[in-house]
Subunit: 203 residues, 2 copies
Amino acid sequence: MGNKIYVALLHHPVLNKQGDIVTTSITNMDIHDIARTCLTFGVQNYYIVNPLESQRQLYNKLISFWQSEIGQNYQEDRAKALSIVRFRSTLQDVIKDIKNQEKYDPVNITTTAKVRDGQISYENLQSDLSEGDRPVLLLFGTGYGLSEEIHQSADYTLEPLFGVGEYNHLSVRCAVALILDRLVPKNKGGKHGFVRGSQQAAS
Amino acid sequence: MGNKIYVALLHHPVLNKQGDIVTTSITNMDIHDIARTCLTFGVQNYYIVNPLESQRQLYNKLISFWQSEIGQNYQEDRAKALSIVRFRSTLQDVIKDIKNQEKYDPVNITTTAKVRDGQISYENLQSDLSEGDRPVLLLFGTGYGLSEEIHQSADYTLEPLFGVGEYNHLSVRCAVALILDRLVPKNKGGKHGFVRGSQQAAS
């Protein structure tokens, strides 16, 4: 699968525990962990999607620390990962942004921990995508997951991640890492000499 | 690989940015995310290792919320994941604990984002482990990684995780998820009917 990959983390429209559509808040850990994972797996851009102006201001405040000299010196690897992060108000804005960069609309792929009709397996998705060169947009939900409307409007919904039993309540941070690891061609680094001088980042 | 798996997150002895040996603080997110991942992948116990009595008290305070009726009602899936978490002062205490449960000393396997001499690949490790039934203890470091002493005393050190380039600065939360996904026999859930009634947990 040589398609360019984009990731979006939606804070709206997502579900709460009762199944209502809500807007969740951005969190520092979702920004950092997912940015580091995305850069590791060669994702072009990682979009934080939130319609609230107050959340955009909070995001700008967080990011400006890491872009400052203090932030860069404190943890260069984290600052570097944030260079691929973008804040957008809506999913439509994200899609427009990708089309501007890539000339094609992305193939929209939703993710969920729930079993739904018509979900696609990793193997079949890789096979479908390999036939074209459209960019791929992987959509993740905060709260209790993406709204029905977002799933309905997507091109594909990936099958849930499972480990060894019934429990599959991974954090969205870990789910992004596992899905990218399963989708992106594996582990080129160790085999192709990309490993020189690498340092472990702070946990 | 049918060996029983244990995970330990060490807060001492680990390195800081300058390479000194330090003790780091426990964090709420490391406890929750890694517990949820461990339960998803069938890990027996997830050990938080920290020698400080004040950190043990903080841990007990966090856990007691999730064991309370309020915590259980607030997020049952998170509470459930915490049932496999244990706090221990030292790695030696962890090893003793596992030996008491399993009758055998665990095979100790360290992890790192750095390239080291003699690291083992996932394939070779799976092949080595499949020849015995000793429990496996995967060791993860906070801060800037496990101390040299811990690597030296281990039976194996796993090769670093790589994505598609030079950057491999994953959070320890995501590293645990990826390493378990690569080591544990895959994705039984979807194929063996474990998927009924599953609900997505809050992100």
